[in-house]
Amino acid sequence: MEALARSLMNAVPLLAGVPLWAVTLLLIVAAAVVILVFALTFEGVGSLVLRKVAGDIQARIGPNRVGPNGILQFLADGVKLVLKEDIIPANADRLLFKLAPYFVFVGSFAAFVVVPFGVGLIAADLNIGIYYVMAVTSLVVVGVLLAGWASNNKWALLGGMRAAAQIVSYEIPVGMALIPAVLVAGSLSLQDIVRSQGGLLGIFGWNLFHNPFSFFSFFLYFTAAQAETNQTPFDLPEAESELVSGYNVEYSGIRFGLFFLAEFGDMFIVAALATACFLGGWNVPFFHAATLPWIWGNLLSLGVFLAKAFTMVLIMMWVRWTLPRLRVDQLMRMAWKYLVPLTFINLLGVSLWLLVFKGKGIPAMIASLFG
């Protein structure tokens, strides 16, 4: 940010007198606003797409009343959520009840900061990118637990407990499944990871095809991440047929809206991480987007990135409308007896592969065979 601020100050003479930190701060705020707007838009549109996909899959039509073909439905939903009466249960813990949705939302939203949208489109290219995502999303757990407790509702409490146990358990396989990408790139920065998948191999440069272990890693990550973000078939914390709605059962209005937005935000984060770590991120196959002029390169890479991420989101929705839900003990068994050992085996495999083959992936080896 500071570098950008410096270049901006050099480019715009008007800013010459302004202190560096002020410009930096301004840029940070601007980036945050842009990210927030993107996140909210995605979350709104995501809810609409989710319902449309549900409609298609379930031999229905889906929302089609607000706006042409229902595309304004999410605005109507948003307006409804904002205007709805804000109910706080009489015996709820008012302070924590009000605070909890913000924790959840902040935890989910803060992860957007390091999402590599394009060649230069990233709010903050932290060198601990993936690690940062894992860290800030852990705030969600606290919010969910507090929401479950503060509602003073037993179903909400059960939901909160389930959510916390689930998210804490699945953080391990999620992290372990992402490490192969980190190992291949040799960096925790998401931009570095994406860049490492570029090159002239096209889609075979992706970490997905780097070696068999990273291939499985992708699926393990996707499965575990679905659980970490409480998507069906792992939506136990809000299982509406068991826990009614879990930790957010007592919430209404925009407080519920924040949970809802956070859920879609998480969905996008998972899709974005999967894209960045395994599917080549914003890399355009057989083409260096960075060689284009700044604006075009970024637009092109942004388009590619979003297309990949949205495809992943669609797949998540598809899974969501197909599968039934696991039971709590089965969920835990899946985490500890299947995903954790498998991700560890994978990690070992990737490490050995990188050691033995000097960091080269299968496509690279094949390419070198043919010269």
Partner: protein
């Protein structure tokens, strides 16, 4: 749990999920599979024997009260008085369609087939009173009073005829006149 079982579990989970997802995908992409009826714009074809709202043709109704008796939920109420010509005259015929359960028993028993199901099924109201269908617009008390007057008139005429010891055709004329009077006053829906 052996390794083989362990692997089998994983394979089975993946294959069965894939099977299910293939089916949902087919439905997802095939627009022909959409079965939703866009209700207010599109409507389904109502079959001939559809049991919709009840309608009583009060012109042919004989006020036999069969429908009232057979109705299991007592949603039909009927008032009638004996007219001058000894036939029953309907004073009121109400059906509370808020109570009606569309069983069709009343339609089956109706001797003159004046009570029928229509194909209507759309009705919304904000007051329960609006759910009572009145088939006779005129006030029941008025009809009763009028019929009573006619009956009295007919009786007076008959009395007079008897007293005057006139021929029978005159008496029948009076009866006819009374009947015409009644027919004129017969309420319409």
């Amino acid at each position: 749990m052996g390794l083989k079982e362990y692997m089998n579990d994983i394979v089975e989970a993946v294959t069965t999920t894939a099977k299910g997802m293939r089916i949902t995908a087919r439905y997802g992409v095939d627009p022909k599979e959409e079965v939703t009826l866009q209700y207010p714009e599109e409507r389904w074809e109502i079959p001939a024997g559809y049991r919709g709202f009840l309608n009583n043709d009060v012109k042919t109704c004989t006020a036999c009260t069969m429908c009232v008796k057979v109705c299991p939920v007592d949603c039909i109420s009927l008032e009638s008085v004996r007219g001058a010509d000894k036939k029953m005259v309907l004073a009121s015929y109400d059906i509370n369609i808020g109570r009606c359960m569309y069983c069709g028993l009343c339609v089956e028993v109706c001797p003159p087939k004046s009570l029928k199901h229509t194909s209507g099924y759309e009705m919304a109201s904000v007051a329960r009173g609006e759910l009572i269908l009145h088939f006779i617009a005129e006030d029941a008390a008025e009809i009763k009073a009028r019929v009573a007057r006619q009956v009295a008139e007919a009786a007076v005429k008959a009395e007079a005829a008897k007293a005057a010891d006139l021929s029978s055709d005159l008496s029948s004329e009076a009866a006819r006149a009374a009947k015409e009077e009644a027919a004129k006053g017969e309420p319409k829906k």
